[in-house]
Symmetry: C2
Subunit: 260 residues, 2 copies
DNA sequence: CCGTTTGTTCCATTTTTCGGAACGTAGTCC
DNA sequence: GGACTACGTTCCGAAAAATGGAACAAACGG
């Protein structure tokens, strides 16, 4: 196991729920010996990937990650284009919009478009969530080949909320449904009382894949309003697919010519 | 030279002016053999620190840097406190506010508060600039011991704009001036026609040091207006120093008990 | 079809890393 | 004060990984 791998393992211990860690935290989370942890933490700190609070002695992501993170304008064309359209939809509907990407079987929130409705933003940018329990997460999975999906979802199917697909067969059933309709939805899954609808957008040019979703309170919306959201999303999807050359019906593997 | 060091050297090649790099770019910038560059780039890509555009094959900071960068809310208390106050000042004066930190002899922009005046934001967050040519950069330097300043500024004094201190002696003269008045200013240095005033804020508790500045068009402001900015900044500095327990007059080294 | 550019793979040598154990350093309890 | 514990760092021989020159491969251009 390379030094870089170990370093990354440490960096991956940090998350929105654990924005800073003590030496002991890191040691427990990585399961590495004290000596290795000590050396690596020092290296990471010295190179700017981590910072150490002078008083609490806890570690947190460093200045370098801030700088690099700013540069990750990330797939800029695709995302910026999608964000513009999403803003329009959110302005019209008042709901909150999300743009996310897939990483393994998790999704990571990239952009948020706050809505005017009083539903607080629950997933800040950078937030990781299992893709199988969100509307746009499943929409993205649906664009992968069955083989690729199988490879990404852990063999030991994770414990998920009651409304989410409870096993691999249920998941595939939902993904096939999404493949038919082009739109994905969720209700009371990741967060109680919150529903969302979303779709996946692939760039025909770069083969990038993003998920776009609109999120709302289930209680505070009527079936009619949700149908309206579906219509808005459908129109947005159609427009974006035209703009980005998304060859709907092709898996990402077919687009890029290789498995990721 | 450790693998991690080499990896960091590659990451540090990316900047706002070079947000993505080709294999050849990296090879030239790092001066490493092709084989090493190839292996390292692959590792960095595989672990998520870099991404590779499927078509242009160019590299850019990856999803992991985005996630970690989000977590670097960084020195949150100090910066958030300062940012709140800065917002007030910027709202009143209409000018653009900056918060930055020192890294070596460069400063890195952390936060921007756009003003209402039509001066476009020129330094996005993450931007690096030599601290010796900005008002808040010099303000931060002025809070270091002379020995520490000497250690940070390159022996081969860099080429700087005409209005900036042209050599180490001139720099020290200006820093001593800042130490006397508590406020730093700049005009027509980093950017032609742009002036700024700033000060440094140290947290008495954590020993962190940030620079706070307000920036404006030299042509579009009168001497009276600039005096007003100075007054606003002075008041803000006094208030923040009280709030954060900044022991003005002490160097950062005295605060943290060690050289950084 | 050949030269160029660009990038990857191979492999013997050199250099790091690894991790158990010994060694500090505080803080705490009695 | 002294023993105890939590927390980290340093040491060092064994083991693993990085290194970089060279051969190899692929894409491009003329």
């Amino acid at each position: 196991m390379s030094a870089l791998t170990n370093a990354i393992d440490i960096l991956r211990c940090f998350s929105t729920s654990r924005p800073d860690l003590s030496f002991a935290d890191v040691q427990v989370l990585t399961g590495k010996p004290k000596s290795s942890t000590s050396r690596l933490l020092r290296s990471l700190r010295d190179c700017g990937l981590l910072e150490q609070d002078p008083h609490s002695r806890r570690y947190r992501p460093g200045l370098l990650t801030f700088e690099l993170g700013r540069l990750h304008r990330a797939h800029d064309d695709l995302i910026a284009t999608a964000e513009r359209e999403l803003r329009d939809v959110c302005a019209r509907t008042g709901h909150t919009g999300y743009i996310a990407v897939l990483d393994g079987y998790q999704q990571v929130v990239l952009r948020i478009v706050p809505g005017s409705n009083p539903l607080r933003v629950v997933n800040p940018p950078g937030q990781r969530t299992p893709a199988i329990i969100t509307s746009n997460g499943r929409a993205m999975l649906a664009r992968l080949s069955d083989q690729e999906i199988r490879a990404r979802v852990p063999l030991d199917y994770p414990k998920v909320p009651a409304n989410s697909p409870q096993n691999f067969a249920e998941l595939m059933a939902r993904l096939n449904e999404i493949r038919r309709t082009g739109i994905s939805d969720a209700a009371d899954e990741a967060i109680e009382g919150v529903g969302s609808q979303g779709f996946a957008l692939a760039s025909g040019e770069s083969g990038e894949l993003i998920g776009i979703a609109v999120s709302y309170s289930v209680q505070a919306t009527t079936e009619i309003e949700r149908a309206n959201v579906r219509r808005e999303l459908g129109a947005m999807a159609a427009k974006l697919r035209r703009m980005t050359g998304d060859p709907l019906g092709q898996t990402i593997e077919q687009l890029t010519g290789l498995a990721s």
